[in-house]
Symmetry: C2
Subunit: 426 residues, 2 copies
């Protein structure tokens, strides 16, 4: 195919395109960015309250019943969550209801307040998608513009909730289909993600700082990396395990959902049983470290994402417990995202692998952090870039290796049922 070449007219059209999408994504970014800021603030408050009042955990079964009842009787099709957003992008149907945003915001905060183990990104993506749908309706946009606007909603939500706008952009493009990226929403997504992130930060919302002290470069230069073959081998082996952990998480969550649906006839009872299981597990393990987000722990030496970056910051089985807690929470009707628990699972698994193999703990925690996520969502490029945005660019080679290999080893399943398969992974 020969290149199309009408430069002057083309460039003018690009100005129009750029201006159009800045204007279209501005209201989306303001509303979604503000809601995400509110959400992050409420999450912090909920976590603080739960730590101050440990008895809140005993109300988890009741909270679960309330959440499921709310969606059942007032939720319309909002319960489908992320999958509804993705379905509407693939093929527009009935649309995303406006209520999805406030519903998921409130129920996620409730999940966290009472000790459910869940994340944030699903909530942010649903806020972004729902707001985008309303903006599209309000401006009576054409079908194709609505599709792109929905994608910018995903990018905006993701970018703002983690403070990683570039990763949010690539995530929105990458998550829809396994094995393919299409660039049609590249610029609009980046605009939306940057603006939503800025809006969110204007409220004074900060994001957790992570730091990798390990340097492959004794001189501090960027380019002269001497690749350590031993380290490379350890990263490769860890990546396989990260991939399997991602798959295990997706399969276990889906399995618990199916099984509880079969075993427990009354749907409202499911979250009650789930809540009781979480309480029992917390008792059995004698720690509340696996409840809630898990970014930090109530106790300075507890297991948390932040602590997983140093020796002794996680136990060998921490990753499994978080996986189980989260699969129960999300598989049995509570609300929230999967990604922060995936960070937790990955970082603590990376910590454990590093302790066994004598690899640098902070680097392996970071690799697990992004690679388990890459495996469970099938988004290796977005996760590589997220690694750079969160941990700096020095180790991008290891980030890419870990995410790509984990992606390969996670098979064709994942946490999003509405993700399509364009290409087999091999």
């Amino acid at each position: 195919m020969t290149p199309i070449s009408k430069p002057a007219i083309e460039q003018l059209a690009f100005f129009k395109y750029l201006g159009k999408w800045i204007l279209l994504t501005l209201p989306l970014a303001i509303v979604a960015g503000s809601m995400v800021a509110l959400f992050l603030w409420l999450l912090d408050e909920a976590t603080r309250l739960r730590w101050e009042h440990p008895w809140l955990l005993y109300l988890l079964p009741v909270a679960g019943v309330a959440i499921v009842a709310l969606y059942r009787f007032r939720g319309k099709n909002a319960e489908a969550g992320n999958n509804l957003v993705m379905d509407e992008i693939h093929q527009q149907g009935g649309g995303i209801p406006a209520r999805m945003a406030p519903f998921v915001l409130i129920t996620t905060v409730v999940t966290h307040l009472f000790g459910g183990s869940a994340g944030r990104e699903g909530t942010a993506v649903q806020i972004g998608g729902s707001v985008a749908q309303q903006v599209g309706k309000w401006l009576r946009l054409k079908r194709d513009d609505v599709r792109i606007l929905l994608m910018t909603g995903v990018a905006a939500g993701f970018g703002a909730v983690f403070g990683t706008p570039v990763a949010g952009t690539v995530f929105a493009l990458e998550v829809l289909t396994i094995g393919r990226i299409k660039y049609d929403a590249l610029i609009p997504c980046l605009m939306a993600a940057i603006m939503a992130d800025v809006v969110c930060s204007l409220y004074g919302i900060g994001h957790t700082h992570y730091h990798i002290d390990f340097h492959t470069l004794p001189t501090g230069g960027w380019m002269h990396f001497k690749l350590d073959p031993m380290l490379l081998g350890k990263v490769l082996m860890a990546a396989l395990l990260f991939g399997l952990a991602g798959t295990l998480f997706a399969e276990l969550t889906a399995g618990i959902k199916t099984l509880s649906g079969k075993l427990i006839r009354h749907k409202l009872l499911i979250p009650a049983v789930g809540g009781c299981l979480i309480i029992a597990l917390t008792w059995a393990l004698g720690t509340n470290d696996y409840l809630g987000l898990g970014v930090t722990s109530q106790h300075p030496d507890g297991v948390s994402i932040v602590n997983a970056f140093r020796e002794g910051g996680a136990q060998p089985m921490s990753w499994f417990w978080k996986l189980l807690f989260t699969a129960i929470t999300l598989g049995m009707g509570f609300k929230g995202g999967e990604v922060t628990p995936l960070f937790f699972i990955g970082a603590t698994l990376g910590n454990a692998i590093a302790m066994v193999t004598g690899a640098p703990v902070d680097l392996f925690a970071a690799l697990g952090f992004i690679a388990v996520f890459a495996a469970a969502t099938n988004t290796p490029l977005a996760c590589t870039i997220m690694g750079v945005e969160l941990f700096g660019g020095e180790h991008i080679l290891y980030f890419a290796l870990a995410c790509f290999v984990a992606y390969l080893f996670s098979g064709h399943s994942g946490i999003y049922a509405s993700q399509r398969i364009s290409l087999s992974k091999q």
Copy 2:
């Protein structure tokens, strides 16, 4: 579509796949990595010789005739260069001749020895592609495996020549088609790029160090970036200009090629005239800074890529002169890549824009470096990642913004005629 789910069998198959591609790309990486190392060493020697013996420039017309004659009478279809490699990946035809690798290596070094303005990546990509084809033939691989192996050849050549294996990987996936990435060669490309880069570095070949002193983060943390709206606006405006510069380069090179073919009847005369034009321009400007690679200058204060990272390291029109020198060199029959000149054009243009607008010079030189390249090759993600690999991850947001917007504004043309268009950019 529901997820496919036969975990145990799938994971076993992935092991086989991973092992297969490590084995297949290992000989490719060793041969291509070694040839790229030889190539880089010869380039350094050629540049040193040219600086020591300025009269070599006067032989440029003769050298050009020799290059064109060599390809004409002994080159088979190797002259098609990068486009042949891309065509063979899109649809296998007659294959890439084995002689492509040594021919392009020698003629590129000759081009540089006598002062032609050209780059390296085209040469490295052709070395990688040609070696990959021979490996595929030697192992009697199936059609589909040959296609993937050719892509790994591109990744290996690109990754080794710039010391940026992750960017090389994404480049190989991204360059084939505008507006789409397919992941089928993701892991093989990364394996090949890492191994070729390691092989190349084992010969003691280093890559130029770049450094951006400008920090958006006064505290040094990764996440709390306070986006400066003024700076953002300047980056956006600069990105438009980077995009236009990329287009101008592609159009001018193609235009000079067409025009000289029409005006000069005897094909062997074209490079002779081109060589004379380069000599005349060098006289007129009174500097040899626009000859050769341009990574460094013979004079400490000359115009070069490295010097463009500081104030006064480039003149306002430096970018245009390099563009003109390179368009003449490559449009009139000399050999070499386009990318290093694109780095030069971008870095000096970024320098000039920074001086006019009061933006940080080193950051804008880096943005131009990657964004003009992104515009001319339509590979915005690879260039964003290359920015991280060369300059660190701190400014990834600006890297992405500059590359994505420059990509948008470069229209649908580019330096590779065999690049296909999957999606319109708007």
